[in-house]
Amino acid sequence: MSALVLEAVDVAVHYGGVKAVDGVSFSLARGQIRGLIGPNGAGKSTVIDAVTGRSRLTRGKVLLDGEDVTALGVVQRRLRGLSRSFQRTSIFGGMSVRRQVELAAQRMNHDRPAADAEAVLGELGLMQVADVTAEALGYGEQRRLDLALALVGKPKVLLLDEPMAGLSVRESHELARHLESLAGRWNVSVLLVEHDMDVVFGISHALTVFELGRVIASGEPAEVRRDPRVREAYLGSAG
C-alpha cells in the first residue's frame, strides 16, 4: 500500500482546442487535506471531474492507493473509495434523507448499511430530518445531505467542490471545523476546492494553486501565501 492515497500524474483534459487542464500533478497523503485554489476558470472543477472519472483524460493518469484507475468509470472508482460532493447540490429530491443515504451505504458493500447511514447522518446533524423528503429540506441541510452521500462508506479520498458555496460565514466555519475533525477521525484524505480563503488556509495541510489549467505553486499554506507568483496571480499583490 502506498503512503500516497491519491496521485494525479501529468493530468490533462482538453476539450477540442481548449486546454481546461494541461499537465497537472498533485498527490494526497492519508488523512491529508489539500486545498485547491485558483481564479474562476482555472480548471479546478475539471480536475475533480477528471480524477473521479466524469471527464476523460487527454493525457496522464490517476492512481488510487497505488492502483491505476485511469481506465475505470465513475462507479468503479466510487466503489474503490474515491468520492466527491458537488458544487451545485446534487441529491435525490424525491427520496427521504435516510432512504438515499442507506441506498448509498448498501452500494458500499457494508455488512450493516443502516448503521453506517446513521453514523453519517449523525455526524452531519441530519438525524432530526432523516425522514423528510430531500426537496423539502432547507438549503444548508441539502448541502450537508450532498456531503453525507459522499461520506457514506468512509471513502479513502473525498473531493469537495466548493462545499461552502452559498453558506453563511458562520455556517461555513462550522462546516470547515467539522470537515477537519472528520477527516482526522475517519482518516479520509480531502481535496478541497473552495473560494473562501479563510477556510482553505484554515484547514488545509497543503495547497495547490492553479492558473489557466496549470499548477503555479504548491506547498504548505504559509509557504504558498508568501509565493510572489501566487500573490500576483490570485491573492492580489497587496494581500
Binding site: R54, V75, F92, G94, L103
Partner: protein, 320 residues
C-alpha cells in the same frame, strides 16, 4: 403502507372483486368493466415506466398487441399447449424489451418517446401487411383450447368470470409491483430517475436498473395484451396502433402515475365516463382532451394525487 396493510388491502380487493363478479349479473356492465381492467393493466405498465424511470413511452401498444399475436401464432402453429404459449410470449416480450431497453433507455427525453413510437409503428405496419402470418389488416382469430389452466374455456369466458380474472390480474400485478418497489430495486430506480449522475457517484450502475424497469413495464403491458386476446379471442393491428399507446399514456397521466394504482384508476374513469356520455361519445376524444388539460393544470398528480390530498385533509398541507 406497512407490509401488513399491503397484504390486507390486496386480499380485501381480491375478495371484493370475487363478490362483485358473483353478484352482478349485468353482462353489459361486466364486459365494460373487463375492458376497462385490461386497459388498466396496460396503463399500469405505461405508468410504471413514468414513475420509476421518468420516461414517456408512445409505443407500449407494441407490447400489448405483440403478446396477442405471439400467443395466437404459437397456438396456430400447434407447437405447444396454450399455457406454455402464454408463458413463452410474456417471457419473450420481457426479454426483447430488456435487450432493446439497454440501447434506447440511454436516449433522453423526447427522443426516447419518438423511438418508442417508431418501433411501435414499425410493428403496426408489419402486422398489417403480413397477411400470411397475422391475417393482415383483418386481424387473426385466436383459437383457445377447450381448457385453459384446467378451467373449461366456456366457463372462463363468461362475463362474471372474465371480470374476476382481469380484476385479480390487476390486483396481483399491483401487489407484486408494490412489493418489489418497497425494496432495494425501488430505491435504486428512484435514485436513478431523480438524479442519474449522482446515482453513479454513489456507486450505482444506472443502465441496468433502467433497462429492467423498461422490461418490467413491457411485461405488464404484454399481460394486458394476453388478457385482451383471451377476452375477445381476436387480435388485429389496431391493438398495435400508436393511438392505443396514446390512450394508455393519457389514462396514466389523468389517473396519476405517482402512485402505482393511479393509471388503473385513470383507465376505469376513462371507460366509465365514455360510457356515461352515450350518444355524445363521438366527441369523446375532444372531451377527454379537455379533461386531460384540466388535470395537468389543476392536479398534476392526477386523480389519485387529488384523492390523496383530500385524504390528508385539504390542499393546503404540503411539504414536511
Amino acid at each position: 403502507m406497512t407490509m401488513r396493510s399491503l397484504w390486507l388491502t390486496t386480499l380485501c380487493a381480491l375478495a371484493a372483486g370475487g363478490l362483485f363478479g358473483f353478484f352482478v349479473h349485468s353482462g353489459t356492465l361486466l364486459s365494460l368493466l373487463t375492458q376497462a381492467l385490461i386497459y388498466a393493466v396496460l396503463a399500469v405498465g405505461v405508468g410504471l415506466l413514468l414513475r420509476q424511470n421518468g420516461m414517456v413511452s408512445f409505443g407500449h401498444a407494441l407490447f400489448f398487441g405483440v403478446s396477442g399475436y405471439g400467443v395466437g401464432i404459437l397456438m396456430q402453429a400447434n407447437l405447444m399447449p396454450a399455457e406454455l404459449a402464454i408463458a413463452l410470449t410474456l417471457a419473450g416480450v420481457a426479454l426483447a424489451a430488456f435487450l432493446v431497453g439497454l440501447v434506447i433507455v440511454r436516449v433522453p427525453g423526447v427522443s426516447f418517446g419518438m423511438l418508442t413510437l417508431a418501433i411501435g409503428q414499425m410493428f403496426y405496419l408489419t402486422a398489417s401487411r403480413s397477411r400470411g402470418l397475422t391475417g393482415g389488416a383483418d386481424g387473426m382469430n385466436i383459437d383457445w383450447p377447450a381448457r385453459l389452466f384446467g378451467v373449461p374455456i366456456a366457463q372462463l369466458l363468461k362475463p362474471g368470470a372474465m371480470f374476476v380474472l382481469c380484476w385479480s390480474a390487476l390486483v396481483v400485478v399491483l401487489f407484486l409491483l408494490a412489493l418489489l418497489l418497497r425494496g432495494r430495486f425501488g430505491s435504486v430506480t428512484e435514485a436513478v430517475r431523480d438524479n442519474e449522475e449522482r446515482a453513479r457517484f454513489i456507486g450505482i450502475l444506472t443502465l441496468m436498473p433502467r433497462a429492467l424497469v423498461f422490461a418490467l413495464s413491457a411485461f405488464v403491458s404484454a399481460l394486458a395484451g394476453v388478457l385482451s386476446a383471451l377476452n375477445t379471442g381476436f387480435v388485429s393491428p389496431e391493438a398495435l396502433h400508436w393511438s392505443v399507446s396514446g390512450v394508455a399514456l393519457m389514462m396514466a397521466v389523468v389517473g396519476g402515475y405517482k402512485v402505482l394504482w393511479g393509471p388503473a384508476l385513470g383507465a376505469v374513469v376513462y371507460f366509465l365516463a365514455k360510457d356515461a356520455l352515450g350518444d355524445h361519445a363521438t366527441h369523446w376524444m375532444a372531451i377527454f382532451g379537455v379533461a386531460l388539460i384540466t388535470v395537468i393544470v389543476f392536479s398534476p398528480a392526477g386523480i389519485a394525487g387529488a384523492l390523496g390530498r383530500l385524504a390528508r385533509g385539504g390542499p393546503g398541507r404540503a411539504g414536511r
